[in-house]
């Protein structure tokens, strides 16, 4: 028994507590944050190697044996997501040095980011449904602070709505866990899965499936529960937006993926059809928003919703291939969304506005930035050999194979819409000539640019090196398709 899976949760926790005491010294905070994030990345790479060679790793907290105590479970899916989340957090922290501003840095920005990472990694790792709720709350609490930190008027206004929506969804979450407990008599996810397959497809299980879909759908922003997202996400500055856009909604998607493959796979004609319908509506709603706005932030925010729809469609199709596509696309989307939001932040910083109609011609002074943005846009749309391609290919192919022609075609068309919206952004910000001549002085963006380049490079490597990533993803999908592996690993029967 080794305690490796707890490290990506423990390191951010300890770092956050240390950082609270270092509030006065910004330099010390920066150094500790970077060291802690690198340590988290290293520990998750170690877990990944361990999971690859020895299978699923579990830790029974306090040595209470599996169905009774809280169990942390690192399977390949969760450790891949933990690794991605930690890398993104490191890049965002590096980006924040220049962009977040001294005021926010002095008011506990770095500790809260570590707490957010703690909540996200915990949600990915835990094997206990109530513990999932607790980690969700840690993550949400940190996001409440991050969305309001700095205290500008728009942030205060939007944070109230954001908190209200999440308080309601948390209440439904606790209720759903209560129902699930009264039906199955357990909180351990593996144990619940085993009990549900004994019960079979009773109607109450379907009711629970829909309740959990509402809860995670609110966090993951699926149609029609995405209404809060565009408003709330437009409030905070770029680095915080990058964290939210790449991590928070994806935790909701991960939770849907986990519960719908582990608990609610017995009544697929009902639950997975709802899922697939909602996925398509989510894509359509996202596309409408992404094409309608002429604002850097809003276009990128609506692209989150499109990606959520694509991922959900992959989950709904529920074959080996579609789940492999979903996992591929999930990781790709986390990386590329972070990169795009950070790039968007640089554009807004240079142009001094997020309105596309008021900017233009930036390619003359910032060619590297422009071409990086175009590369990231192509990756987002899924142009081969960049990283979005593999995931979408697998999802669409399995859609056709399963006879879900409408869904597969909608996903394909959504790629075109994504491409149009981001290229439109590129044309507006970089290509178009402006009426007002650009200022002669070039703003220094070097230190902002480096973490973005790292992320884009990572995304390109992820796309080109698909062969190398593929066995890891298939390892993750294996557990999703065969819940017995997960159950056996946790309950050690």
């Amino acid at each position: 028994m080794i305690n490796l899976p707890i490290l990506p949760i423990l390191i951010p926790l300890v770092a956050a507590i240390i950082l609270i005491f270092l509030a006065k010294s910004i330099y010390a905070q920066r150094i500790v944050s970077v060291i802690a994030s690198i340590a988290t990345i290293i520990s998750s790479i170690m877990i990944m190697a361990k999971v690859k060679s020895d299978g699923i790793q579990t830790v029974d907290m306090g040595s209470w044996p599996a169905p009774f105590g809280i169990t942390l479970v690192s399977d390949m899916l969760s450790v891949l997501l933990v690794l991605t989340a930690s890398v993104i957090t490191l890049c965002v922290i590096l980006y924040s040095f220049r962009s977040i501003g001294n005021g926010r840095e002095r008011f506990y920005y770095y500790p809260i980011v570590q707490f957010l990472l703690l909540g996200v990694n915990g949600s990915f790792t835990t094997g206990d449904i109530f513990n999932l709720f607790v980690f969700f709350e840690i993550m949400l609490m940190s996001s409440y602070v991050l969305i309001v930190i700095g205290g500008t008027k728009i942030q205060l206004r939007e944070s109230i709505k954001y908190i209200l929506v999440n308080v309601i969804s948390s209440a439904i979450f606790v209720m759903a866990v209560g129902f699930l407990y009264s039906v199955t008599g357990s909180l351990n996810m593996a144990h619940i899965s085993a009990r549900i397959s004994e019960i079979g497809s009773e109607p109450i299980i379907t009711v629970l499936a829909v309740l959990f879909l509402i809860v995670f759908g609110l966090k993951g922003a699926i149609f029609p529960l995405y209404f809060w997202l565009p408003g709330s996400y437009s409030a905070p500055p770029a680095p915080i937006l990058a964290l939210f856009g790449s991590l928070l909604t994806k935790v909701g998607i991960y939770a849907i993926l986990r519960t719908y493959t582990l608990f609610f796979y017995h009544d697929q004609p009902f639950t997975h059809d709802i899922l697939s319908l909602l996925a398509l509506l989510t894509i359509v709603a996202g596309v409408i928003g992404a094409l309608a706005y002429r604002d850097v932030k809003q276009i990128l925010i609506y692209n989150i919703i499109i990606a959520v729809g694509v991922l959900l469609f992959g989950i709904a199709t529920m074959t080996d291939e579609s789940l492999a596509g979903t996992v591929f696309y999930l990781i790709h989307d986390m990386i590329i969304k972070a990169a795009l939001f950070l790039l968007g932040g640089i554009i807004i910083y240079i142009a001094g506005t997020s309105n596309l109609n008021k900017m233009g011609g930036l390619i003359l002074q910032y060619p590297a930035l422009g071409w990086t943005f175009l590369l990231a846009s192509f990756a987002l749309a899924g142009i081969p050999p960049l990283s979005g391609f593999t995931g979408k290919l697998l999802i669409v192919r399995s859609g056709f194979a399963e006879g879900e022609y409408v869904g597969a075609i909608v996903v394909l068309l959504s790629s075109l819409a994504v491409l149009y919206s981001v290229v439109n952004l590129f044309m507006g910000a970089f290509w178009k000539t402006t009426e007002t001549p650009l200022p002669d002085v070039k703003k220094r963006t070097g230190s902002l640019f480096i973490p973005v380049v790292v992320l884009v490079l990572l995304s390109v490597l992820y796309g080109v090196g698909t062969e190398f990533v593929y066995p890891y993803v298939m390892h993750a999908v294996d557990v999703l398709i065969h819940p017995e592996i997960y159950i056996d690993a946790v309950l050690k029967e």
Partner: protein, 113 residues
């Protein structure tokens, strides 16, 4: 007994929804408080209301109450307490800065972004 508790929880939810649909920020926050009370009551009922013995069980206890829902409620209460506290602070700060607690005026529009 379980039925009665469910009805009480339902009434709490109804009151919470009513308050959360009002325009005043403070009423909305009180509504979220009631919502979490309803949830906790529901959670307690979910575990089954047994004959009133203690949850601590010996090796061969004849009757006992399930301790897990109580542990869950304790956690959930602490969390909802924290969330309500931060919500109140942010609401007060928003009231100071924006000069209103009327949700109609907090709607926001394209123009002031």
């Amino acid at each position: 007994m379980e039925i009665l508790m469910c009805i009480v929880a339902g009434m709490l939810f109804a009151a919470a929804v009513y308050l959360m649909l009002s325009k005043s920020l403070l009423r909305i926050i009180i509504g979220t408080g009631l919502l979490s009370h309803g949830t906790h009551l529901m959670l307690l009922t979910m575990g089954g209301l047994k004959t009133g013995t203690v949850p601590v069980l010996g090796e061969h206890a004849a009757s006992y109450t399930d301790p897990i829902p109580q542990a869950l409620i304790l956690t959930a209460i602490v969390i909802s307490f924290g969330v309500t506290a931060i919500f109140l602070v942010i609401a007060y700060r928003a009231y100071q800065d924006l000069g209103t607690d009327n949700m109609d005026q907090l709607r926001g529009s394209e123009a002031d972004d």
